[in-house]
Structure formats: C-alpha cells, structure tokens
C-alpha cells in the first residue's frame, strides 16, 4: 500500500495542500477535477484507492481517485455534487486550493485479474473508481484476456466520461444502459443487470469487479452467483460513512472489518463471511 | 361634527402585541381602548389536566420576560395546594431568584425599551453609532444579571431550578459567593445609568389613581403578603382576591380586563408597590429618592418608571442581604418531601409589572382540575385606557395633537405592559 502523502506530513489528520488545476464538467451534477499536490511531492496510488478531500471552510469527504495513474504529481477525482463539501467543491475554480489526505485503502486486485477475463460493472458515480483500473488495463491490454464493461446511469445525460467511451469501445467490450431513455438513445434501457443478457461469460475464468449503489451491488452479486461465479472471483468496492480513513473513527466498520483501511475493495469471499451483511 | 379614530398599531418595544384606539369628536376625547391583539394561547386550558410537576413549567411560558416570577408563583401555588411549607432558607433562595428576574426585567424595560423614547430613537441599537460605549455598558449590565440568573435558575429564560418542594438542584455556597461577587459588580456598573435616567425626568401629567400591591407591613414583599388598596387602605387576604378583583370581557380585546369591585380602574406595578410600601425601602434606595426629590405617593402614571429605577437599587440591597445571610449559613436541604393530595392553592405575588395571581385546584393524583391566572398587565389595561384618555385630553388642550401618537405610545410603555401573558382568551370574531 502506498502511503506517500500521509508519510510526507507526520500527522495523518493534516491535509496536504493541493491545487485544482483543471475542471471538466461530465454531467449536470458531476465534474472531474485534476488535482496537483502543492509542495511538489510525488503522489502514487493504486486504482481503487481513495483520498479524503478537504474543501477548506466546509469539511472533508472521502472521494475515489478516478484517474491519473501515469502522472507523478497530479491525479483526478470525479465528484457528484451532493452535500456540503461536494457542493462547496463545485463553487471553487481552477487555481484554488483544496486539502488532500491519503491515498487510503486497498485498490482493485490487478494481479488477480492478469491473464483472466475481466468484467467491470459500474453504476452511476461508481464508474469513477473503475476508471483508473480501465486506464491501467488498457495501457497493458495484452496482460488481460477479454475485458467487458457494463455501465448503468440514470439517463443518457448522466453518463460519465462520455468522450472516453469511443476509445474504450475500441479496446474492450462496452455495454451501457440507462434507467430512463430519451430520444436518440439507442442502447439498452433498464437496470444494469439486464446487460447480462447481452453476452456470455465464463465465470471460472472471469474476475468481476463492481462499484455502484448498494442496491445495484446486491442484485449484480446475486446475478453473478446465479451465473456461477465463485466468491473469490467477485470484487466489490463498498461505500460507508467515514471520517478518518484510517480505521480509527469506527464509522465504516462492518462486522469487524474497516471499509477504509481493509477496503474499499473487497473480495466477495471476505465480506460474505462477515456477521453483518455488507451488500 | 368631526368624528375620528386614531389608532396606534402594534406598539413597539413592549412585550407582546397591543393596539390603542382613541376616539375623538370635536376636540373631545370620547373613548380610549387598549386592545390586546395577541393571538390567544389560553394557557389555563393547557394547565388543566396536567400534573403538578408540569403546571409550573407551562405557567412559566406565560411570559419570556418575567418567566422567573411566573415559575416561582406557580410553584408556590402548587405548594400551597399540596400543603408544602418551604424552610426559610429555600424561601430566601426563591426570593433571590425572583429578584434576579426583576432586575433582568427592569433593566430590559428601562434601558432598552424606555431609554430610546427619550432620545427620540426607535431602538436602543440606534444609539450604537452615537454612543457605543453607553450601549456596551448596558449590555454589560445585562450580562452580569444574566450570570446571576444562570447560577440561581439554571437558565436565563424559563428558569429550571424551582420545583414543588424547593429546588431541582442544590445551590452551593460557592454558587452563592459567585452571585454575591456578581452583584457587587452590578452595583458598580448600574448606578450611572440609573442616575442618568432619573435625571432625565418624566412628562408632567397628574392623574389620581387607585394603586394595588402586595404588602406585609415590613418589607417591599415579592412573594408573600396581603393585597392592599391605596389610598383606601383596604386589605384583603390572598384567598379573598376573587371578591375584589373582577374580570370584565371587552369585545375588542383578547385579554381580560379587570376592575376593582366591578367599578374602579387600578394601577399595579412598581409605582403601586412603592406608593404602598415605600417606608420599607432600603437605605440606599431612600437616599436616592432624596437625591432626586422623589416623594410618595406619586400620582403621575409615568412615575412607574421612576419607581422601577428606585426598585433596581432596593432589590440589589435586598439581594445582598439575602446572599450574606445564606452564605453565612447555607441551606442544608434542596427539596422537602411531600405527599400528593387534592387541594387548592393560591399565590399572590409581585411580578416586575405588578401584582400576579396564580390559583389552581388539583385532584388527589396531583392533576390540575382548574386554573386561573391574573397577570399585572391585564389588570392595568383599564387604567391604561383611563390615563391615556387623560393624557390625550391634556395634549389636545395644549394643541399638540401631532405628538399624540408618539406620546401615547410612551405612556403605554411606561406601564411596562406585557401582553403575551395577559392575552389568553380566544379572540371572538365580531
């Protein structure tokens, strides 16, 4: 695990100053922010990890890193405007300072996926933590077998990373669906699980990774099990309330594990064995 | 024939909503009506069916300015009903709390509600630009009193500590010592503003009034005593109040009005307390009267304000005496035991604005079956009408009718009316 940022300042609660260097609007309520650590120190992370983002004057929120694996000192986050901190972030312009703690947690199991089929399933903003994984896979495309992306959004307008899909479609299979279609949308309409009808998978040779709202992950996992996926081949990225990111504040505990430091990416075999239901 | 009605709507800087209508024809003042327009909260109705524990809590909500006296009077009426007798020291603590409330209320009224009148300003806050130091001093005074209330009552508005049988929480010697220190600080700060306002004087207006206050022939009592009428000198026991104080419903008002013996308007408040009990003022208060040539009885309705200023000094002296007594021999108990039984209790007390009556009946399980509360302002409404009429006539005679609205507001304010507690009847649609 990389702890470069938290190590560079001794106190892990103190955010590192960073600058918003680019803002790109993705959907009416979601934008991607490119962020650069101010003191020029290196920022290394693994796809699937997250940071704690401070908007000064408002507070902190956990946000997944959504891109930038190749850059040494900057990275991207894709944020949906929801509450206090995220709304305040949307009021900031390029050049403004934010605070960064992290990266925290464990990312996607890249090693496990190598030489296997990869099935990526994202719902809504849940595509954000999958994006660095997609970028990584595409950069080393030959290390992986068949790669499939299933993505569901509320409406066509809510689809993230619209201009990246053409490129992605060239290098992997992409299936998209929306809850509510509109004129001009000729792809699928319905919840993510309907996309399972579009192709055939080979559960034993496929690693399925997913991130989305709890209800989506519940049904997707159910479907994967029906299709015969072994528990170890299913990975999920969980969302929980979190304050510290370091397994101290206790908020993200599920039956004895911490989403922040033990996750957010978990093998289904791990969370399945927990006393508490994780998804 | 020129008939007209002059109405003054929503008099500001008083507690609650009050309109005054003056009906004039041909230079004659026909009638003055003080109309409480407070939406009704019919508190007595809420009290019925409530346990003896809750009654004082709700009664306290009669008024946010003088919640201390409402709370204590209510508790006292409950105690009377349940046959609880408080040990002397707890009684003294109660008195201290009530004095805190009176100081708090008098300070708001005299310095925040009355003072702007004499500066020709809308609000005490408007004095901020011209005299920030003075405003800051006033605020400091309030802060000091607030600290005292907090020690004794637990909170500033709606004190928490008084409960049937004594106090909900022990008040320790160190708390009392703190209160004494605070009081000394207060004395240092408050004398200047008091003198300042006494020196400003009041408008000239002589109206003979009947004054009613609680008396015990020894002190200027707040919590215990008989009902005395001045100048007649008639005295009634608390449980005789219904014989003399008679309610009157006026269609134009949501508050009940009151008359003495069904015929006479009367004045309650600081002016009545002092007109009746002035021999028992503290030395310092008497000194102050001498300094400003104040003699009793005072027959100017505006003189209620003078009486309030004198009282501020008097109460500080009484409080100091009480605190010294209590510090040298602090109360040992917090609350006395009692049994719940059926009963009827009356408390006739002095609120900052005048005589206050709480009267309840409880069933054998301690639930209220009947309640009656008579507030000072309600008793004063008829007298407000009477004196406002006299003042209007005087102003009309002087030919300064233009000032009428401003001056009548000033007169009403001199009574320190508190409408939220007096208006408790449902407003009937005409």
């Amino acid at each position: 695990m990389s702890k470069s940022v938290s190590e560079s300042v001794k106190n892990p609660y103190i955010p590192n100053l960073a600058e918003i260097i680019k803002i790109k609007s993705e959907t009416p309520d979601t934008s991607t922010f490119r962020i650069k650590i101010s003191n020029g120190s290196e920022f290394k992370f693994q796809p699937g990890q997250f940071i704690e983002l401070t908007v000064f004057g408002y507070g902190e929120a956990p946000i997944s890193i959504s891109g930038g694996t190749t850059s040494k000192d900057s990275f991207e986050i894709t944020v949906r405007k929801m509450g206090e901190v995220t709304s305040a972030l949307f009021r900031l312009q390029e050049g403004k300072k934010v605070g960064i703690r992290g990266p925290f947690g464990h990312g996607w199991p890249l090693d496990v996926m190598k030489r296997k089929n990869v099935l990526l399933i994202g719902g809504g903003i849940g595509l954000a933590p999958l994006r660095p994984l997609i970028q990584e896979i595409l950069r080393n495309r030959k290390d992986f077998e068949r790669v499939i992306l299933m993505y569901g959004a509320r409406t066509p307008k809510d689809i993230l990373f619209k201009d990246e899909f053409p490129l992605w479609s060239k290098k992997m299979e992409v299936y998209r669906t929306v809850d509510k279609g509109e004129p001009g949308w000729d792809e699928t309409v319905g919840v993510v699980t309907v996309l399972f009808d579009e192709f055939e998978v080979y559960p034993e040779e496929t690693i399925a990774v997913q991130c989305g709202p709890p209800i989506m992950m519940y049904f997707v996992t159910k479907k994967l099990k029906e299709l015969g996926f072994p528990d170890e081949n299913i990975y999920v990225s969980l969302e929980r309330r979190m304050e510290c990111g370091m397994g101290i504040c206790g908020r993200c505990s599920i039956g004895g594990i911490y989403v922040c430091k033990d996750g957010p990416v978990f093998s289904y075999s791990t969370i399945k064995g927990l006393l508490e239901r994780a998804i | 024939m020129s008939k007209r009605e002059l109405s003054i709507n929503e008099i500001v800087r008083i507690e609650g909503h009050l309109d005054v209508s003056i009906y004039l024809s041909d230079g004659q003042v026909n009638r003055v009506q003080a109309k409480a327009i407070e939406g009704t909260r019919i508190l007595e109705r809420f009290l019925v069916g409530r346990s003896y524990l809750e009654v004082p809590e709700m009664a306290s909500r009669m008024c946010g300015v003088c919640s201390a006296i409402h709370k204590v009077s209510s508790v006292q009426a409950v105690e009377n009903a349940l046959g609880i007798v408080l040990p002397e020291k707890l009684q003294k603590l109660r008195e201290l709390l009530v004095i805190g409330g009176h100081l708090h209320s008098h300070v708001i009224h005299m310095f925040f509600f009355i003072l702007p009148d004499y500066y020709g300003k809308d609000s005490a806050l408007d004095l901020l630009p011209s005299d920030p130091e003075f405003v800051k001093k006033l605020i400091k005074i309030r802060k000091i009193i607030n600290d005292m209330l907090k020690i004794l009552g637990g909170s500033l508005v709606h004190p928490i500590t008084p409960v049937a049988g004594g106090f909900a929480k022990p008040i320790y010697k160190k708390n009392l010592q703190n209160a004494l220190n605070i009081l000394k600080l207060l004395r240092k700060e408050i004398m200047d503003p008091v003198r300042f306002e006494l020196a400003m004087g009041i408008p000239e207006l002589e109206v003979k009034n009947t004054y009613v206050a609680v008396t015990d022939g020894k002190t200027v009592p707040l919590l215990h005593g008989d009902i005395r009428v001045f100048p007649s000198g008639k005295t009634y026991k608390p449980n005789e109040y219904q014989k003399v104080i008679k309610p009157l419903r006026e269609k134009y008002s949501t508050a009940p009005h009151f008359l003495l013996d069904n015929r006479e308007t009367y004045y309650v408040g600081a002016i009545s307390r002092l007109n009746i009990n002035h021999p028992y003022l503290s030395d310092a208060a008497k000194e102050l009267c001498k300094e400003f040539n104040i003699s009793f009885p005072m027959d100017n309705p505006f003189a209620n304000n003078i009486a309030q200023l004198i009282e501020i000094v008097h109460y500080m002296d009484v409080a100091e005496q009480l605190l010294n007594d209590l510090i040298s021999d602090p109360p040992k108990e917090t609350r006395v035991d009692f049994e719940i039984k059926a009963g009827e209790g009356i408390a006739v007390t002095e609120a900052p604005r005048g005589m206050l009556i709480h009267h309840y009946k409880f069933n054998s399980e301690g639930y209220a079956t009947w309640a009656n509360i008579i507030t000072p302002t309600a008793q004063n409404l008829k007298n407000i009408e009477k004196t406002a009429k006299a003042y209007t006539e005087a102003l009309v005679n002087l030919g300064v009718e233009a000032l009428l609205k401003f001056e009548i507001e000033k007169l009403v304010r001199a009574y320190d009316p508190c409408l939220s507690c007096s208006a408790r009847f449902y407003k009937e649609n005409p």
């Binding site: - | 069916g49 946010g64 637990g154």
Partner: protein, 243 residues
Amino acid sequence: MNKKVKVGFFSLASCEGCYVDILNLDDKLLDILKYVEIVESRIFGIPKRSEELDVAFIEGAITCEEEIERAKEIRKRSKIVVALGDCACSGGKFMFKNFGFTGAKINQPPGKENFITEPIDKYIKVDYYLPGCPAKREEFVELVYSLLANRRFAEKPHSVCSECILYENDCLLEKGIPCLGPITQGGCGALCPTNGRGCFGCRGLYEDANIDGLIEAFKKHNIPIPDYLYELKKKLVEAAKHE
C-alpha cells in the same frame, strides 16, 4: 461579506422568551450585527416596514386566522423563513401540547371546541427550525453564521441523554423523576436534566425516538406514565401509515 443580511423578527402567539433569549446574547449580539441588519422587530423597537427580507425569524404558534395571514405575508417577502422556538416549530408547549388533556374537562373557548395551536409549517414553508423553549441562543448564532458562510445548518441527530451523560449527571429516572431525554432531540446541552429537572421534550422528537421503550423504562423506575406518551405513540403510528 460586504452586504449586510436583512433580517426581521416576528412573533405570533408566544411568550417572546425566544427573543428575550436572543437579547441575552449580549455582546455576541453586537458581533452578529456586524453582518446582520435588523430591519423589522417590535421587541428591538423597529416598527413594521414591510420590506423584502433575507431571513425572517418567526416565533410563536398559529392560533387564529390573523396569524395565518401574517405568517403568509412574512413568507411572501422573505427568502428564508426560520421557525424560532418550540411554539413555531411544533405548536408549542412542548411535544405533548396537542396530546391528551387528561383529568378534568377543559374550558373550551366559545365556538372553538377543537381549538388547537399549530406549528407555522402547517401553513407556510419553513426553511430552518430552531427548536427549544426558548430556542437556544447559541444555536441562533450558529444558524446565522451558517447562512452567512453558505454552510448547511448542522442537524442534531442525537438524544438529550447523550448530552446528559457528558455532564456525568446521575440519571433522573433513577430518582423516579420523569425525563423525556431519551426520546428528545439533543442540542440543548441537556440543560434541564443537568439542573435537576426532567427533560420536557421542548426540542421535539429524537429521530429514533422509542416511545414504547421509554414507557417501559418509566415502568421500571416506577414512574407514572403520562398519558401524552400513549397519544404521542398513536400519532407516530398514524404518521408512519401516511408515509
């Protein structure tokens, strides 16, 4: 902040204790006045001006037609309406106000047999609630500052008990004193229990209020169960059905 925020203070049927308590802010009030201009308030001596307002603080419950009209009028010209105090938030006299008048028959005002006091949000939209009897002055400051700073006004999603324990108070229930702390929303700093008197629920229901549980707890401590707890329960069950 260059332009001052225009606020008005209004009261409907109330004891005005909430305003008195705001006056009790003393010097903190002067700090607030750096950012805030009071353009209408009877108690501050600022007469009716019928201006447009940024924030209207309304104290008091609604008890008659005029007050409904008044509330609507204020709403119309105010960007933000704040219900100040328990009367405005819930209709007043604490959470049990509209419930079970036990014991003797109640004197009903003529022609209005089912007279009831109403919270202002029954008639107008309310943006923020400052519960409590009186509303807590510190919370008033908190709200004003959150509005100024474009922040969300923090909810207080915890019980009074959880604040009571911070003062290391002995629980009043153990002494047989009824206390609504367990079902009441915190934020008051457990003021009443800390002063030795049971909580009366002036801040409204805690979001996970367990009325049945409280009834059981009262029973365990030999505390007579006030009727309003049963009434309250009925109301909640009904409200849940409507959802």
